[in-house]
């Protein structure tokens, strides 16, 4: 299997729901806790596994706002794994999830340097690297209802802009979406082959206007029609 996410930039409104759902689940999850330094102070900084960035594309007045949630892309060619000296970072053979074994990480930061997507953050309390687990502790948990065996970010997304699935399965929803909506990888030139794929904003639907030419004759005045109440 090749598990990952499809993120629809056409409908993401940048609400940060996925980011806090992720924080919430994972702070008590397998790589938890996700510490927050100075939580009530001047510079509150915690470790988050999913962050939303907002961009404006093109110049006023023809510009467009795009919200871009980013988390680990679970790359096929994950250099973060290659560079890890301890073996704490690894990509699971069975499903492609990239994980950090919290008991083995020495906090050298090198994997975060190797990651082009800013997906790894050092925990300020524990000194180990934290990153998206694709909610490995949810998706295989057979005690959860089947429909809820999804990453927390996907479950919560209010615009359903996140889809989880198996990219190896050509019939999976993620594979279909990537095909139908011309899904894009970010920074493909670096050759990481990220699994997570972004669906670009769609073109505007073309909306016909009512034909006013045929109505010209009646512009002169309104005539009562026989319409029963």
């Amino acid at each position: 299997m090749k598990l990952g996410l499809v993120i629809d930039l056409d409908t993401c409104v940048g609400c940060h729901g996925c980011a806090t759902a992720c924080k919430q689940w994972n702070t008590s999850g397998t790589i938890g806790p996700l510490a927050d330094k100075d939580p009530y102070g001047r510079e509150p900084v915690g470790s988050w596994l999913n962050r939303i960035r907002s961009y404006e594309v093109d110049d006023s007045p023809n510009s467009k706002t795009v919200h871009m949630p980013m988390s680990c892309m679970h790359c096929d060619d994950a250099d973060c794994v290659t560079v890890c000296p301890t073996g704490a970072s690894y990509k699971r053979e069975e499903d492609g999830i990239v994980l950090v074994d919290q008991d083995k990480c020495m906090g050298c930061n090198l994997c975060s340097w190797a990651c082009p997507y800013g997906a790894r953050e050092l925990d300020p309390e524990e000194g180990t690297m934290k990153k998206c687990t694709l909610c490995v502790d949810r998706i295989y948990d057979e005690k959860l209802p089947e429909a809820e065996r999804q990453p927390a970010c996907v479950l919560t997304c209010p615009t359903r802009s996140r889809v989880f699935g198996d990219f190896d399965d050509p019939e999976s929803e993620v594979s279909k979406l990537v095909r139908e909506r011309a899904g894009k990888a970010l920074m493909p030139e670096l050759g990481y082959n990220p699994v997570n794929t972004y669906l670009p904003p769609r073109n505007k639907p073309v909306q016909d206007q009512i034909d006013t030419a045929s109505l010209k004759d009646t512009v002169k005045g309104w005539v009562n029609k026989m319409i029963a109440r």
């Binding site: 940060h16 001047r42 510079e43 509150p44 900084v45 470790s47 988050w48 962050r51 939303i52 960035r53 907002s54 961009y55 404006e56 594309v57 093109d58 110049d59 706002t65 795009v66 871009m68 980013m70 250099d79 794994v81 290659t82 560079v83 890890c84 000296p85 301890t86 073996g87 704490a88 008991d103 083995k104 990480c105 020495m106 906090g107 050298c108 930061n109 090198l110 975060s112 340097w113 190797a114 990651c115 082009p116 997507y117 800013g118 953050e121 050092l122 300020p124 524990e126 000194g127 180990t128 894009k184 990888a185 970010l186 920074m187 493909p188 030139e189 670096l190 050759g191 972004y198 670009p200």
Partner: protein, 309 residues
Amino acid sequence: MHPAFSVLTFTVMSGAGYGLAALLILGHLSGINGLQDTNVLLTSGILALALITLGLLCSMGHLANPKNAWRAFNRFKTSWLSREGVFAVLFYPFFLIYLLGVWTQGAEINGFISIIGLLAALIAVVTLFCTSMIYASLKTIRQWNSSLTPLNYIVLGLMSGSIVLAAIQSSLTGSASSILYQLATALLILGAIAKVIYLFWIGKPAGSTINTATGFTQASVRLLDQGHTSNGFLNNEFGYTVEANKIICLRVLMLVLAFLIPFFLILSGSSTLTIIAALLTVSGLLVERWLFFAEARHVVRLFHGDQRT
């Protein structure tokens, strides 16, 4: 990239240490006349050990969870950091046996010790290479992801080592070995050339842009919000920014300190001035290493609004 002090001192000190060790052994074994003195060999050897060990200790300071540092040897198969660690450790027994040989046998060591010595020299250079590859292998940092990086690390390591070696040799024996001075001069020139090429090379616009990062390649892209007010790990690690003016000043300072002044000091042949040259080179290389980090622009910056790397 944020120039962490621990990493700067580590790479500069261990670079000089490995360069010193390698040149010392190679010079000794190839019969360079200034390096057939037990005193010179042992003093240089101990200094090399001190530089390397201090450097390694500094590098440990960079770890957020050092209790797992011992695990760093595990991923020799793929990780240059792991390889560096393995070779750095492996260097010790070889070099110590070599030094023990010199201590017990004097400059006239036997064949076994010679072979061990040669291996130690080789490991020293390989370790330097591994260190450089930690940086050179990162596709995320255009300024590092080049064969110029290992060239720089090895040449500058040997260069600083050679000046230190010349300084020790001349001050202990009272007379400077011309071949050592010639070597140091040559390495200074080579180092300066390598560095200048590097500086020109990183000045060329290339690499990823905010457009390729976000996937919007048809129009300008501006960051509106990075998603958090206070700077977090990614900003601190990758967001390091220096003004262009300061960069130019530091580049000049680096070239003058690390290369230009030492070049002239060495030309004098004075042992005192050579010691000063060694100190200047090392401090110049600290500036060089600071710039190596400060000028490196990680692609994550694109997501935080930089237009290009």
